[in-house]
């Protein structure tokens, strides 16, 4: 059985079908294919690598328990993202705070190559990203759980507002207004660099 990014869409569909019948090897194909995307969502919601990795584990464990309920109305990736968003909201609510990691480079990790980007950015790009990240992390932290999750799902994950609402278990109007509030607050936070950086 093939794993990772080499798996073709028909093979993925086949893996999903087999996983729904309880085949753990088939489920592994799905885990390896979607883990990084789920991590990105969890990281944007938690602001912390360790927590995000824990949420990835929780998401796939939950997905395994519930996989027979997956009805194919949304894509499997969207379904996973819903699970991840819900579990992460629960986690954040229980912890009641958002903890951004202070990023000081890959030296912090046990494996020095673990977090190496595949392509080195230009110095200008790095500086811009660092400036924006420095403003965005506390601004995201200050959003309510629903505002942050709605914004992350709409902006970074590209989910339509109706699907964002489904993931959050709220009406589309509530999701829409959460996104409006989040954008307003983030724009305010970015004002110091908004006029100079682009």
């Amino acid at each position: 059985m093939k794993y990772g990014d080499d798996v073709s869409p028909p093979e993925l569909a086949d893996a999903l079908d087999q996983a729904r019948r309880g085949d753990r090897d088939a489920f592994r194909v799905l885990v390896e294919r979607h883990a990084t995307a789920v991590f990105r969502l969890a990281y944007r919601m938690t602001g912390n690598e360790t927590d995000a990795e824990d949420m990835v584990q929780e998401t796939f464990l939950r997905a395994w328990r519930e996989i027979r309920r997956f009805d194919g109305r949304a894509s499997f990736g969207t379904w996973l993202h819903r699970i991840c968003a819900n579990r992460t909201v629960d986690f954040l609510r229980a912890r009641n705070r958002w903890q951004p990691t202070i990023s000081t480079g890959p030296d912090q990790e046990h494996d020095p190559f673990r977090n190496m980007p595949s392509e080195l950015p230009s110095p200008e790009r790095s500086a811009r990203s660092a400036q924006a990240t420095a403003l965005l992390e506390p601004a995201l932290a200050a959003l309510s759980e629903i505002e942050r999750t709605a914004f992350v799902l709409r902006h970074y994950e590209g989910l339509p507002i109706d699907e964002v609402a489904g993931a959050l278990g709220v009406q589309p109007g509530a999701a829409r207004h959460s996104i409006f509030r989040a954008v307003r607050k983030l724009r305010r936070a970015l004002e110091p660099i908004g006029s100079t950086i682009l």
Partner: protein, 242 residues
């Protein structure tokens, strides 16, 4: 003709190509320099949001995730078909379990029978936490289906109504056990949940789409799904600590 300027909300909807902006918004944007400037400013800010750094994962991350998951999966049974298990069956099993557990607790204080010897107070508390958390999981599934099913009328609501009735029964059994243990916070929360479940279970065949929508709005207004998730999550944490 001078049109009203577009609001920030309109511009956000246009940026994300979402429905809901005024029908003539694009035409207005083409004519109005002020709104074009506002749209450009919004686009700048949202583009800047893309700069938020996310730590890269190595190409092995998928495999590493799987390797970490394997021990947990080994403890899991095959994926369950929860949506096909009749709720009445769950309720019956739960009733038997709770009755056994709490009768055992009562007799253990009086008679110290062998069956009680292996069942500590802590174990009974853990079983109750699991049972209530599982119950809330089923409640959450029902609430999500009610909230998601935007087009449902009362006829389409029939299955949800039957499930709500079963969950109300299940909840009453839970409450007895929780009261016996003096857990007033969870009991009060189950009261709040029961109010909505009872309302769902009493939705008549003649109910209008508006009435069904009202129920959904009340679920949302009370943030009930969110509360259910939080309480369930707290119970799972408690269960793991016990």
């Amino acid at each position: 003709m001078k049109l009203q300027h577009l609001s920030e909300e309109d511009l956000i909807l246009l940026y994300y190509a979402e429905p809901g902006a005024p029908g003539d918004a694009k035409a207005h944007l083409a004519e109005c320099a002020e709104c074009r400037a506002a749209a450009a400013s919004l686009a700048k800010s949202l583009t800047l949001c893309n700069e938020l750094a996310v730590p890269e994962r190595s190409t092995e991350f998928g495999r590493d995730t799987w390797m970490r998951l394997v021990p947990a999966l080994a403890l899991e049974p095959e994926p369950k078909r929860t949506w096909r298990v009749p709720v009445w069956l769950t309720a019956t099993a739960l009733a038997i379990l709770l009755a056994a557990v709490f009768l055992a607790g009562r007799f253990s204080r009086r008679m110290a029978t062998p069956v009680m010897a292996g069942l500590s107070d802590r174990a009974r508390e853990r079983i109750l936490a699991i049972a209530v958390a599982d119950h809330l999981d089923r409640v959450q599934n029902l609430l999500t289906e009610i909230a998601d099913d935007q087009g449902a009328d009362a006829q389409g609501f029939a299955d949800n109504r039957a499930r709500a009735e079963d969950l109300v029964e299940e909840e009453r059994l839970m409450r007895q056990s929780l009261v016996a243990r003096g857990d007033t916070r969870t009991t009060n929360f189950l009261d709040e949940v029961e109010t909505v479940l009872t309302e769902a279970s009493h939705t008549p065949d003649s109910a209008s789409t508006d009435q069904v929508r009202d129920l959904r709005d009340r679920i949302e207004a009370g943030s009930l799904q969110f509360k259910v998730r939080v309480v369930e999550s707290n119970l799972r944490n408690k269960e793991q600590k016990l």
